[in-house]
């Protein structure tokens, strides 16, 4: 009797050991399945996104429709975002703002987001992957992958549908383990009925504005130089005006070879060495022009950043 129990215990132990060793590769395979297959999944669903903005978390809800690599996002009636529509196709993103009757033309973001996820797959030796049962999300069974750095600091958690290559829930953490953002589908339907013309925005009288035009307009409104990074590989993702200690800070975020660059323009002098100290893994290049201070930040080599900084300029006036 005791011999039988010992044999069972030994087999159970070996099984657990095999599972433990299999965990990272299973997690990696799941992640790869999402990277390779998420473009082929059609669905409609409601997802709640939450970001850390300053000290608080701010949430909003999106109604997402996806089919054949195209995406449409609407917002629930009654929300401050109601009436805005986003349509993204592989080569273009359009964002309709009803208050200004404006359609903003932006670079697509979806492939970039997939590429960022692919970064974990390509650089797998730099990360640790663990997998566990994720329970149910939006009524679906999931597997939860935890991505950590080599020291075990949690970077992200991803809940992946058991049947479909889709992330149903995702959480992200800063270097000290604080939640900085998360999204979660609360409903999902993998057999959506697609309305006709769902992936086109047609609005008579609306003005088309590129993101570069929007950035220049924003700069002029606040008295900044309309200087942009003018490089064929650098795509302006968005531009915004921030406030710090009662002063405006002009922010432009670019995508460059799969990495993020941020170009800042401020009225006062910047302490380059302090910026460098605080940035840790972020490379910093600062300069002044026409009484303004500029800073270009990114995870690039210093020389590359300096090359790009030389391409920050105002648009040449058309004669």
């Amino acid at each position: 009797m005791s011999r039988t129990l010992a044999t069972i215990a030994a087999f159970a132990g070996l099984g657990l050991l095999a599972l433990a060793q299999d965990g990272p590769s299973r997690a990696f395979d799941l992640l790869k399945r999402v990277v390779d297959g998420s473009n082929q999944v059609d669905y409609s669903g409601k997802r709640v996104i939450e970001f850390k903005v300053g000290p608080d978390m701010k949430a909003h809800t999106e109604l997402v429709l996806r089919s054949q690599g195209r995406t449409r996002i609407d917002f629930p009636q009654g929300s401050s975002l109601s009436g805005q529509v986003i349509v993204e196709v592989p080569d273009r993103r359009e964002h309709y703002f009803p208050d200004s009757n404006e359609i903003r033309i932006l670079p697509p973001r979806r492939q970039d987001a997939v590429d960022r996820l692919k970064f974990f797959v390509d650089q797998k030796s730099r990360f640790r992957f663990d997998v566990a049962n994720g329970g149910r999300v939006a009524g679906r069974n999931t597997q939860m992958i935890t991505v950590s750095d080599t020291k075990g600091n949690k970077i992200q958690e991803l809940w992946i549908d058991d049947q479909k290559p889709l992330v149903l829930k995702r959480t992200m953490f800063d270097p000290v383990g604080t939640l900085v953002g998360q999204f979660e589908f609360v409903t999902i339907d993998f057999s959506p009925r697609i309305p006709r013309d769902a992936f086109r925005i047609r609005r008579r009288g609306a003005t088309y504005v590129t993101v570069e035009q929007h950035a220049e307009r924003l700069a002029k409104e606040k008295g900044f130089a309309p200087a942009l990074l003018r490089d064929g590989q650098a795509k302006l993702e968005f531009a915004e005006m921030r406030q710090f200690m009662g002063k405006d800070v002009f922010v432009q975020v670019y995508e460059y070879e799969g990495k993020r660059l941020t170009l800042f323009q401020v009225e006062k002098d910047l302490d380059t060495s302090r910026l460098g100290r605080m940035g840790r893994n972020v490379t910093v290049h600062t300069w002044t022009s026409s009484g303004r201070s500029f800073a270009l930040l990114g995870e690039l080599a210093k020389g590359k950043l300096e090359d790009l900084a030389r391409k920050v300029s105002e648009r040449r006036s058309e004669s």
Partner: protein
């Protein structure tokens, strides 16, 4: 013949009255004093060590008493110079450090440089998370659609068709 006890009584009475002893009693007493036991005692007393007078113990006592006496009060300036010197040195070092480096850098949130780093990291994280969705500044800048533009279609409208 008188026995030993009678002589002892006579000797005690004579000592009491301070009167001379009878000749017999005196001879008896002398004989007893010359006895071996008396000589033994006398010899033991004679061999006793002679105590010499020493003042060493007194010297030790004096030293102990001096030690136990409360210390004499020092002048105020002899007590104050050390803390004053230490405080002065510390102040000098701090002044030099402050003049060289300026005000100490405040936390990330309180310096413009820290804010720029935070915006850069937050923007990258937000774009990753949002995917095709909105990033925080797009949410924050949202303004509701003009009232006249909101056409609230419902199933009732469809039923009328």
């Amino acid at each position: 013949m008188k026995n030993q006890r009678d002589f002892d009584k006579q000797s005690l009475a004579a000592a009491w009255d301070d009167s001379p002893l009878a000749p017999d009693a005196e001879r008896m007493l002398d004989a007893r004093l010359r006895g071996d036991d008396q000589r033994l005692v006398s010899h033991a007393v004679a061999n006793l060590e002679q105590d010499e007078l020493s003042m060493a113990w007194r010297s030790t006592l004096n030293e102990r008493l001096l030690e136990l006496q409360p210390a004499k009060r020092k002048a105020w300036w002899t007590l104050a110079w050390r803390p004053v010197l230490a405080t002065g040195l510390a102040a000098s070092v701090l002044t030099i450090a402050f003049l060289r480096t300026g005000p100490a850098p405040s936390s990330h949130a309180e310096s413009l440089e820290g804010e720029l780093i935070r915006i850069h990291l937050d923007s990258a994280a937000a774009l990753d998370l949002a995917g095709t969705g909105l990033v925080p500044h797009e949410v924050a800048s949202a303004r509701p659609a003009p009232v006249e533009e909101e056409l609230d279609w419902s199933s009732v409208d469809l039923d009328l068709l």
